[in-house]
């Protein structure tokens, strides 16, 4: 079991703080909206991922439980 990052694109306002906190998994497009790595979050980045989720001012970034195993990176 592992967690995958998902953006609710309706709630997302393109603030960009997620990409600043977690550049390993999140980049921004030319309009400032996040492009999120669809693969499960590696264990080594679990804490950073949780911090990015907590920091989203629109509460648009979520960690969702998936059945895939976590990547060991």
């Amino acid at each position: 079991m592992a967690d995958t990052l998902k953006v609710n694109p309706i709630d997302c306002t393109g603030h960009g703080v997620c990409a600043e906190l977690l550049p390993e998994l999140i980049s921004v497009d030319e309009w400032g909206y996040p492009i999120v790595d669809p693969r499960p979050v590696p264990l080594a980045l679990d804490r950073e991922a949780r911090r990015a989720v907590a920091a989203c001012p629109a509460l648009a970034l979520k960690l969702m439980r998936t059945d895939e195993p976590a990547r060991s990176r």
Partner: protein, 429 residues
């Protein structure tokens, strides 16, 4: 634009062998005619029973997504408490006319399906969601059924706003809740938590008509038409090169050339409507009306809109016009769609004009990649499928336009769009 049921399409003998048409009588059928033809609504007397037959039939949703019907039914049947069923006749695809015709000719078949599916999942509330206001045929069918006490549930009619996305499941639930018909982010699916939080089964009206026949004649009868992987028949809205619109029930797996003209007068086909794909002629001439064969071209049958584009029109101009409409129909809720679709539409309009900047085509392709998979609903993905297929199929036309030329000899718009588009931004209720 006239809508007729076309009886003179090639392949008539094959259709007769498959027992088609199944859904469309020649003239509107009132309750008396309906009962004489089909007998009473075959209720099963308990929840769940019909779902096994629907699974065995292989019936998939005819609203465009082709999702297995029994799976949504099973999820709603497992839910507890208040449950809702919705017959979706919003038909918000501007080129599609099949649901409108079905509701006019066979309203009782749709209403049978609504009641049978309601019984199967244990629904306690039934809705009919329509593109137009209720027609006399629908009102008459509901009144006749009510006076004879045929229906387990009363049916509430709601009119959809004239927006492309109004029939999308989450938008439909929002509209029935009294709000604007805007999509929301999933999960949860509406089959788990829909109208007012209740498990909600949303099925296209044609799907429910098929369901009503499967309930009567069984899955084997249903599978006598179609292919093993995609059984049954489907309603199609067909535009031939003459520009006339005909609704026609076709067997799934039928050769497309028996439905659409394919000679020198035909430049390309559009399959699956405005979220569908352009297919090049003559390369596509051997394809059939089945997702199994179409997927190799990145195409799908969708809600059955089929177009033969005449050789005298500019396909690039047609594609640019429709893309402008699709961009204007973005709900504007998701950043990539809000930003990307208008840019894609402007880029395509530039390619369709005389001469264009060197980077425009690459820009359109990059924006197409950027919006894909990043909306709450499938509007960006469907629009990109349409645009990418246009860039491929009309590549020679793009080269002509770059030199200030155009192959068209007839500039009259061909593909139908709603009057007065683009619609105003707040018109979602």
């Amino acid at each position: 634009m006239t809508t007729t049921v076309n009886e003179s399409v090639p392949g008539g003998a094959a259709r007769q062998a498959a027992g088609l048409p199944r859904l469309l009588p020649a003239a509107p059928e009132d309750l008396r005619g309906h009962l004489a033809r089909y007998g009473p609504t075959p209720y099963r007397g308990q929840t769940g029973v019909l779902i096994g037959d629907i699974e065995a039939s292989g019936l998939t949703g005819r609203g465009g997504a082709a999702f297995p019907v029994y799976r949504k039914m099973a999820v709603v049947a497992r839910g507890r408490g208040r449950k809702v069923i919705v017959a979706n006749g919003s038909e918000s695809e501007p080129a599609s006319r099949k649901d409108e015709l079905l509701l006019r000719l066979a309203p009782n078949l749709v209403l049978d399906g609504l009641q049978l599916a309601a019984e199967a999942v244990g629904a306690t509330e039934a809705h009919l969601y329509l593109h137009y206001g209720p027609t006399p045929e629908i009102l008459r069918a509901l009144a006749e059924r009510a006076s004879r006490g045929l229906d387990g549930l009363g049916v509430t009619i709601t009119q959809a706003p004239p927006r492309f996305l109004a029939g999308q499941e989450t938008a439909l639930v929002n509209r029935l809740s009294g709000g604007p018909a805007l999509p929301t982010f999933q999960p949860p699916r509406v089959s788990e938590r829909g109208l007012g939080g209740a498990p909600t089964l949303v099925q296209n009206v044609e799907t429910l008509a098929h369901l009503a026949l499967i309930a009567r004649y069984g899955p084997r009868w249903f599978r006598a038409a179609g292919t093993d992987a995609e059984p049954g028949s489907m309603l199609t809205t067909v535009y031939q090169v003459d520009g006339k619109c005909r609704v026609f029930e076709a067997e799934i797996g039928a050769p497309l050339r028996t439905l659409l003209s394919s000679g020198a007068e035909t430049q390309a086909w559009l399959v699956g409507g405005y979220h569908g794909s352009w297919l090049p002629m003559p390369q596509a001439v051997g394809l059939t009306l089945a997702n199994d064969t179409l997927k190799r071209f990145g195409a799908a049958v969708g809600a059955g809109v089929l177009v033969a584009l005449p050789a005298d029109r500019c396909g690039l101009t047609e594609a640019a016009r429709v893309t402008g409409y699709l961009a204007a129909e973005s709900a504007g809720q998701c950043g990539p769609c809000l930003n990307g679709l208008p840019r894609i539409a402007a880029g395509l309009a530039e390619l369709a004009g005389p001469g264009h900047r060197r980077q425009t085509r690459a820009d359109v392709e990059r924006w197409a990649g950027l919006v894909t998979g990043r909306g709450a609903c499938n509007h960006p993905d469907g629009t990109v499928r349409f645009v990418r297929s246009a860039l491929t199929v009309f590549a020679p036309e793009i080269a002509l336009h770059a030199r200030g030329q155009c192959s068209a000899t007839n500039r009259k718009p061909f593909l139908p769009l709603p009057n007065g588009m683009p619609t105003s931004e707040d018109d979602w209720t």
